[in-house]
């Protein structure tokens, strides 16, 4: 061993240790960024070291090829890393994984031509096969995750037989390759390469196509492991110890994650590989009927339950990811916390489509990771929590896992959601989850509220209810007082008043206020309603004097002297965003200066943006705004009776 080689091996050793150190830093959030950087820098150094050791720097042709391709790869990699959205993370990881696998396969294929002994030959053909199956398997997984392919498991006729045969052929090919060399059978290497490539690729497809959506965390972890193994074997073929070592580490990590995922899903790895995934898909109709009744009953008190809860645990699942409802989850958690409720998140290890999927999504919407708890850390807390909100999770909450012997999920660790005093389930439907086992929670008659449908819709509803409760509580005392004492009131009608046919109530309200000694005016925006002068017509119909109706320009300066402004079903025409939200459709539109009034009472149906789709910042204003949501006919009646 020359001194140069010795030096090279020492450097390889140091780099391996550095990478291991980097990985060990990944175990804490605070140090993880540094850990990742260290690993990245070590990889960069390894590339440079390789360029030097194999004397590539002095070969101009090779160097040119290497530098150009390195640059292309770097550019594409950076582009991808910058552009990808967090929601696309699973498919990106799968795809990148596949690239690494294919690269290893190519290295293996090339080395087959140049191998000098049997060890090199065997390892290179193995690298080729494992790399190829990693590539095709990852590609299928990525397609499934990106929904470019049906996510359900595809089982071919005699699937088992086909895969077994493929494995046997693979073994034969490897043996044949060695025999070919020893006994000089004169089978061209190229033919062997093509056969091995075909068999490996086919096996990858056969294996990945049979895995369904919810088993993806396991598959991705396994493919991750395989791509490391492929690299490691390729390293054996070319005698690159750094490649062997790092590939081995990656292989181990993937295997570890695979184990964790399997345990969390109560699956054996063999079952996944053999495609024993989903079981029955039968849905019992009785359950569905049950719900209709419960839904009605529950809707009444669900916001009160949450409002009065001291402690709430939120359980997110893949449904949240599908509905992209993480932002709403965050808003609900914020609202609850504002009420003084303690909010925690319970994350099952296999929730979602890849390890840690939920953590990434929740983190993306600024939920601090301290609030995210692992299964074991939070499971004892369910019995103390007042309410548990399940968002698009099923199997991981299914109590059947404890006692339904013989079902696929029996024995799987689950979140003890059933111990919570009240459970709010925001799932898309009542179908059994991926494992095909019915969730007994759905049938429970007490303490369960089912909010079915797209989670982003049901959660929004829930949020609106919560906000409303909030608002009512604080405002009931003050709003009527304010109105009674107001000297000057401006009423802003909009299309919502027309929809609710609330103009008569508006008239009663204005008369009542006038009799209290207030000066009541109406501010009519030119485009309020669905036709020019729409509001004027309606108000006149209700018997309001047209002298009381003011056009925008005539009344706009008076808002700042107004004690109370009542908005009835108007949104865009008084949206202050029109003044400063550049680029939005309403930017520059003349609006009523409602926001200048001392107090604003908004009687709108909901908090959704108006026709223009621009959020109204007034809704979020902390002081001087009262939101009375719902049909204006109802809310105005309440307001009237309060005065």
């Amino acid at each position: 061993m020359s001194e140069f080689e010795l030096f090279y091996y020492i450097i390889c050793g140091i780099l391996t240790v550095t990478i291991l150190f980097g990985i060990s830093l990944m175990s804490k959030v605070k140090t993880a960024v540094m850990g990742n950087l260290i690993s990245a820098i070590a990889t960069a150094i390894a590339i440079v070291v390789t360029l030097i050791y194999y004397d590539i720097l002095s070969q101009s042709v090779v160097l040119t090829i290497c530098l150009i391709t390195l640059a292309i790869g770097t550019y594409i990699g950076m582009y991808v890393a910058k552009r990808v959205k967090m929601i696309q993370m699973p498919e990106l990881v799968a795809l990148l994984n596949g690239f690494g696998g294919l690269a290893s396969a190519i290295v293996g294929a090339c080395t087959m031509f140049t191998s000098k002994n049997n060890f090199e030959l065997v390892t290179s053909i193995l690298a080729l096969i494992v790399g190829a199956l990693t590539f095709t398997g990852s590609l299928i997984a990525a397609l499934k995750l990106a929904k470019l392919m049906n996510g359900r498991p595809v089982v071919w006729n005699k699937h088992q037989l086909i895969t077994t045969t493929t494995i046997i052929f693979i073994i034969i090919t490897v043996v044949l390759t060695v025999v070919n060399r020893i006994y000089d059978l004169e089978i061209p290497v190229l033919a062997l390469v093509i056969i091995a490539l075909a068999l490996g690729s086919f096996f990858g497809i056969a294996f990945a196509i049979r895995v369904g959506g919810a088993d993806m965390p396991i598959t991705i972890s396994l493919l991750n492991s395989l791509s490391g193994v492929a690299g490691s074997i390729a390293g054996m073929a070319i005698g690159d110890i750094l490649l062997v070592a790092v590939g081995g580490i990656v292989g181990a990590s993937g295997l570890l994650l695979t184990q964790i995922m399997c345990k969390a899903m109560n699956r054996s790895l063999m079952d996944i590989l053999l495609g024993k995934t989903s079981v029955s898909t039968k849905v019992t109709k009785t359950v569905v009927e049950h719900v209709k009744v419960e839904e009605k009953k529950a809707d009444v008190d669900v916001s009160d339950v949450l409002k009065n809860a001291k402690k709430v645990i939120i359980v997110p699942g893949y449904g949240m990811a599908l509905a992209q409802a993480q932002q709403l989850v965050k808003q609900i958690s914020d609202t609850l916390e504002k009420n003084g409720t303690e909010v925690k998140f319970a994350i099952h290890p296999v929730a979602g489509r890849m390890p840690g999927h939920m953590n990434v999504l929740l983190c993306e919407v600024d939920i601090p990771y301290e609030k995210l708890y692992e299964l074991n850390d939070i499971n004892d807390e369910f019995k103390d929590c007042d309410a548990c909100i399940v968002v698009g999770a099923n199997d991981v909450t299914n109590p059947a896992a404890r006692d339904a012997v013989g079902t696929p999920i029996y024995g799987m660790p689950i979140l003890n959601v059933d111990q919570a005093k009240h459970i709010i389930i925001c799932n898309y439907d009542l179908k059994p989850g991926y494992a095909g086992v019915e969730n007994s929670l759905y049938k429970r008659s007490k303490g369960v509220t089912l909010l079915l449908g797209n989670a982003s819709v049901t959660l929004k509803q829930l949020l609106n209810d919560l906000v409303e409760v909030n608002v009512k509580k604080q405002e009931n005392k003050s709003t009527s007082e304010l109105l009674k004492q107001a000297k000057k009131v401006i009423i802003v009608p909009g299309y919502g008043m027309a929809l609710a046919q609330a103009q008569h109530l508006v008239k009663q309200l204005s008369e009542k206020l006038a009799s209290n000694g207030a000066n009541v005016k109406f501010a009519i925006h030119p485009v309020a309603g669905r036709m020019p002068g729409h509001m004027n017509v309606l108000l006149c119909e209700a018997g309001i004097e047209y002298e009381q109706l003011y056009e925008m320009n005539d009344v706009n300066d008076e808002f700042k002297d107004t004690d109370v402004c009542i908005v009835v079903g108007a949104n865009d025409v008084m949206n202050p965003a029109a003044r400063n939200a550049e680029g939005t459709p309403i930017y520059g539109m003349p609006i009523l200066n409602v926001d200048q009034a001392k107090h604003v009472i908004i009687c709108n149906y909901d908090l959704k943006p108006g026709y223009a789709g621009v959020e109204n910042p007034l809704y979020k204003r902390e002081s001087g705004v009262t939101l009375l949501l719902g049909n204006a006919g109802e809310t105005l009646k309440n307001l009237l009776s309060d005065i």
Binding site: V62, M86, M354
Partner: protein, 98 residues
């Protein structure tokens, strides 16, 4: 370097890696996986070597196409993987410091 030593290196690094990675909490599993994914692009070393060997044994065209493809793929894996991991971790960390 003998086959035995190489296999030994594989076994040792696998075990050490396994022990270290065991400490990573499930909170960070996605970044861990995408970081490992980036590291699996270490096969870039093999790809670079292949370009060199192929050029010597055959010619620059084959080496450029085949080896070059391997380098590009592996490099996308490395850069994309580390980049995305970095983005994710920064996201986690931002919240941590709040």
């Amino acid at each position: 370097m003998s086959a035995l030593v190489i296999i030994l290196i594989f076994v040792v690094s696998t075990i050490v890696g396994y022990l270290i990675i065991k400490n990573v909490p499930s909170l960070l599993h996605t970044p861990l996986m995408s970081g490992m994914n980036a590291l699996s692009g270490i096969t870039i070393l093999g790809a670079l070597t292949t370009v060199s060997i192929m050029t010597k044994e055959f010619n620059a065209v084959i080496s450029g196409i085949v080896g070059g493809l391997a380098v590009i793929l592996a490099m996308i894996n490395v850069v994309g993987g580390f980049g995305v991991t970095h983005r994710m971790l920064k996201m986690f960390n931002k919240k941590g410091s709040k």
